[in-house]
């Protein structure tokens, strides 16, 4: 087709108007006719047997319609391992685990009834540290693990409580270390953090006994996967289950699996057809839903004098919490690229996802990349410093470029990494000393590079209709979680059908009408769903042109489309609006529908012994971020002054939206670097389950941000696009860590860089220097 009309343009969001007027209805806003109110009883014990549950008093309370426990819901679910009960069965494994639930006429009654449920527990040993939990002799938190239903790619660890063991084996690391001029062996730590999407979790469910249909209204960013999980758990046909998505107030990975859904479903079977709403408040969201994995990363790297990388060995303990959730795939997709975007001949990685008695860890924007980068990218700087090489030069020597063979056995293409490195470091004048000179304040600069794969192989389907009024509707299963997909997908349809943006509407997500999509995760939507919507739009356009050809008395090949009209190329003045074509062909209520499916075909499956695959990901996202920081030596307080973020997006479908994603990612990354830590004591209790005590970045904590878009086109992507959602926060902590080390001369190995942690690290360094 001719040049692009709306792709690549900074158009404003299609959902902005309904958001700024407060008209849009989120899951948390939804009220259904004749609805009951659900409340949940959470476990106060981190690991205990349930001896007895007495619900008599709760059931007797006037206004209570249903009280359910694990006995009423004998089902389990989970993405890779079906280990999580709808409600605790026989034992509890973390403080905050749902044990029982009530449905009542109003929320006050439901809350009062929950308090009347009596549970007797018998304490079991509590495991908080994953490295302790997998020592020989430890009790299995999941004693029936081996009998659970699970995915075929799972590898059980040899020690207790290991849910998944990922192995990468390339070359011979022992030989590599022997050949190295310098070997560094260090331990890094990343704590638990939480997504803290501004909309807390909720779900509504209704079961109609007569039709046997179960309907679930929930802001879930993978409704088709959730539907499959519910169907698999209940043994209910998929046709009987329907998911409807109200608007979603953020997610960042927290709203993909099942959280409030199983509780709402368990209650809905006992309410005589009335819908039930289960809401978690903020504290319940903090303790019961999902966290990001804490990770302990042992990183050993061998390097030649000139900076050439020879060998890298990493051992990573991913703290899975009480249930596996997405830990197995975080362990695989986070451990595989952890050695960094470099040519390294000898690589060995062991990733262990370990059960502990803590809230469940799962997918979080970045999917394991930030943890690996925190270790690997700081160690790159340490190697450079010890060798007396510039941190840019050591990376330039080893960095992936077009056509390189990766250490996991895949040849890489469309690698825009080098350009991101150059642009990000230039933007903060890396290497140039700061002009700021304040006593007691040290200024430093640092940067970090990352690569990120996407979940593969996966499928997206889409339908696109054009009616006789020329209005376009897109049927796509991508969930608008704030990332801007409705705008991006509207741009794709508008581009291919050559209609104005205001003629395109995205249909609400309802699994009864929308064709299957894998998930809104892993930065996969622009690429996969973009391809599907593009294909469906072209399919619709072709049908319209075929219909228009006889009307304009020319062959379809001689037709063109522009400004919402079809015309013969040599007679553009006799143009027919596309709606008019549909009307003449099919009548005033006529509709043309185009359909398309996109699946990224994977090559060989990941080899379970070596971790090798000839095509592990549909595409790779590359990024470099660079930070300038000020460290107050007296208080240990760090202030990020400037942050540049250069991201290889393949092709920016919407540069305004790309900048928005990058800025949001960077600030989230700063939060994880400096402010955030979910504090869990040795009894397994979350000590800071509120925004008062769990510190999100505020408007006062943000640096000057310099988002930079790099476009190294991905041939298979729509218009060359890759993805962008997740990498925005992935290199941020490591870049800041490197800047702090540059400023102070002190390397800090543990996140977060809270004032007290920084202060004590500086003190310790002073002592050892003295």
């Amino acid at each position: 087709m001719a040049e692009l009309t709306v792709i690549g343009k900074p158009v404003t969001r299609v959902d902005a108007n309904e958001k700024v007027t407060g008209q849009i209805i989120y899951g948390y806003d939804l009220a259904l006719p004749n609805m009951l109110y659900g409340k949940t009883l959470f476990s106060p014990k981190a690991h205990a047997k349930i001896k007895k549950i007495d619900t008599t008093k709760a059931k007797a309370l006037p206004g209570v319609v249903a009280v359910v426990t694990g006995a009423d819901a004998p089902w389990t679910h989970g993405e890779a391992v079906k280990d999580k009960p709808f409600l605790a069965q026989g034992k509890v494994r973390y403080i905050g685990e749902p044990v029982a639930a009530v449905a009542a006429e109003d929320e006050d009654i439901a809350q009062a009834a929950v308090k009347l449920i009596k549970v007797e527990y018998e304490d079991l040993p509590v495991y908080i540290d994953p490295e302790e939990a997998c020592k020989p002799g430890c009790m299995e938190i999941h004693e029936d693990y081996d009998s659970y239903r699970k995915a075929n790619f799972m590898v059980r660890g040899a020690a207790p409580n290991i849910a998944e063991h990922f192995k990468l084996r390339t070359g011979d690391v022992a030989k590599g270390f022997a050949e190295s001029d310098l070997v560094l062996d260090e331990k890094y730590f990343v704590p638990i953090i939480q997504h803290a999407a501004m909309e807390p979790h909720s779900a509504h469910a209704q079961w109609d006994k007569n039709s046997g249909r179960l309907t679930i209204w929930v802001a879930n960013d993978a409704p088709f996967r959730a539907l499959h999980e519910i169907s698999e758990a209940l043994g209910m046909e998929k046709e009987k289950i329907r998911f409807i998505n109200p608007a979603q107030g953020g997610g960042f990975g927290s709203k993909g699996g099942l959280k409030c859904e199983p509780i709402a479903v368990a209650l809905a079977f006992h309410t005589n057809g009335r819908p039930v709403r289960v809401k978690f408040n903020r504290e319940e969201t903090f303790i019961s839903t999902l966290t990001r994995h804490a990770a302990t990363v042992y990183s050993k790297t061998g390097v030649k004098k000139d900076g050439t990388l020879v060998a890298r060995e990493m051992t990573i303990y991913w703290d899975a919490g009480a249930y596996a959730e997405k830990s197995p795939t975080v362990c695989i997709r986070g451990s595989l690229p952890a050695p960094g975007p470099y040519r390294i001949p000898h690589v060995k990685v062991d990733g262990y996802a370990v059960y502990t008695n803590k809230p469940v860890a799962g997918s979080y924007r970045g999917y394991g990349i930030p943890q690996g980068a925190w270790a690997g990218e700081q160690q790159m700087d340490e190697l450079a410093r010890k060798l007396g090489i510039d941190p840019i030069d050591i990376r330039m020597k080893n960095i992936f470029v077009e056509g390189d063979m990766s250490y996991w056995g895949e040849q890489l293409h469309a690698v825009g990494l080098k350009e991101t490195l150059i642009k990000a470091t230039e933007a903060i004048e890396y290497g140039k000393r700061s002009s700021i000179n304040k006593p007691g304040v040290k200024i430093g600069k640092g940067f970090a590079c990352i690569q990120k794969p996407t979940r593969s192989p996966t499928t997206s389907n889409a339908g696109v209709t054009v009616n006789a009024q020329g209005e376009v509707t897109v049927f796509a299963g991508t969930v608008e979680i704030g990332q801007g997909c409705n705008t991006i997908l509207s741009q794709v349809a508008a581009e291919e059908l050559r209609v104005p943006m205001n003629k395109v509407r995205i249909h609400q997500l309802d699994t009864d009408v929308i064709p299957y999509d894998a998930s809104t995760t892993s930065s996969r939507s622009t690429y996969h769903m973009g391809n599907a919507v593009r294909g469906a739009s072209i399919h619709a356009r072709e049908q319209i042109m075929e219909a228009a050809a006889p009307m304009l008395e020319v062959g379809t090949r001689d037709l063109s489309v522009a400004d919402g009209k079809v015309f013969a190329k040599d007679q553009p003045q006799q143009a027919l609006p596309i709606g008019e074509v549909v009307k003449r062909k099919l009548g005033i209520n006529g509709i043309v529908r185009g359909d398309a499916s996109y699946t990224y075909e994977i090559g060989k499956d990941l080899d379970l012994e070596t971790g090798h695959s000839d095509h592990a990901s549909a595409f790779y996202m590359y990024a470099t971020q660079a930070a300038e920081v000020a460290v107050d030596e007296e208080s240990g307080r760090i202030r990020v002054l400037r942050m540049s973020a250069a991201h290889d997006v393949g092709k920016a479908i919407n540069p305004l939206n790309c900048a928005a994603q990058i800025e949001g990612g960077v600030v989230m990354g700063i939060g994880s670097a400096i402010h955030e830590e979910l504090v869990i004591d040795n009894t397994g209790k979350v000590r800071n389950p509120s925004f008062l005590d769990y510190h999100l970045v505020t408007s006062l904590d943000c640096p000057e941000m310099i988002p930079i878009i790099v476009e190294c086109a991905e041939p298979e992507g729509p218009y060359g696009a890759k993805g962008l959602g997740e990498p925005g926060l992935a290199p941020t902590p490591a870049a800041i860590g490197n800047a702090v080390a540059d400023a102070t001369g002190v390397r800090i190995y543990d996140l977060p860089l809270k004032p007290e942690n920084v202060f004590w690290a500086l003190q310790k360094n002073k002592k050892s220097a003295a």
């Binding site: 404003t12 108007n17 700024v20 007027t21 407060g22 989120y26 928005a660 800025e663 509120s690 925004f691």
Partner: protein, 157 residues
């Protein structure tokens, strides 16, 4: 305990009997059915539920219904004047100030309160005014830009 109260909501007078302990946030969302005001924490820490009470911004999750007799309340549903978007709404649309949009109503009400008092705020003043309103999506840059642009739209009347 219930109490009969009269107050003004978005310019219209309302008279109803309410439990005195009912939070203004819940009164708006659950009893009146206006869900534009959002619940993010329920403990006064996130600002998502910001409304104007007698012209001043408050966290509606910290206000009891029993206190509302005679009050003048403006929520996000009352920000728009007629069919036109309020300048802060226009600027949030233009500049990309909303992503998931869940913090947006509170951000807009706080921004309006700021601009009512200070029609020409600096970046620092905007950041300070919005520091009690948490946003997890945008990184705040486009929000600050939008408030500045809104100030310009208002000044140019």
């Amino acid at each position: 305990m219930n109490k009969q109260i009269e107050f003004t909501l978005n310019g219209k007078s309302v008279s109803r009997e309410v439990p005195t302990h009912r939070l203004l946030l819940d009164l708006l969302r659950d009893e009146i059915g206006m869900t534009g005001t959002k619940e993010g924490c329920g403990t006064g820490d996130c600002g998502a539920c910001t409304v104007l009470l007698d012209g001043k911004p408050v966290n509606s999750c910290l206000v009891l219904s029993g206190e509302l007799d005679g009050a003048d309340i403006v929520t996000i549903e009352g920000l728009r004047i007629g069919p036109e978007l309020h300048p802060v709404q226009q600027a949030f649309v233009q500049d990309g100030g909303a992503q998931c949009g869940y913090c947006t109503p509170g951000m807009l009400m706080m921004s309006k309160a700021l601009l009512d008092e200070n029609p020409n705020p600096t970046d620092e003043e905007i950041r300070y005014a919005l520091s009690g309103n948490l946003c997890r999506c945008t990184g705040y840059a486009k929000i600050v830009e939008a408030v500045k642009d809104a100030a310009t739209i208002i000044r140019n009347g």
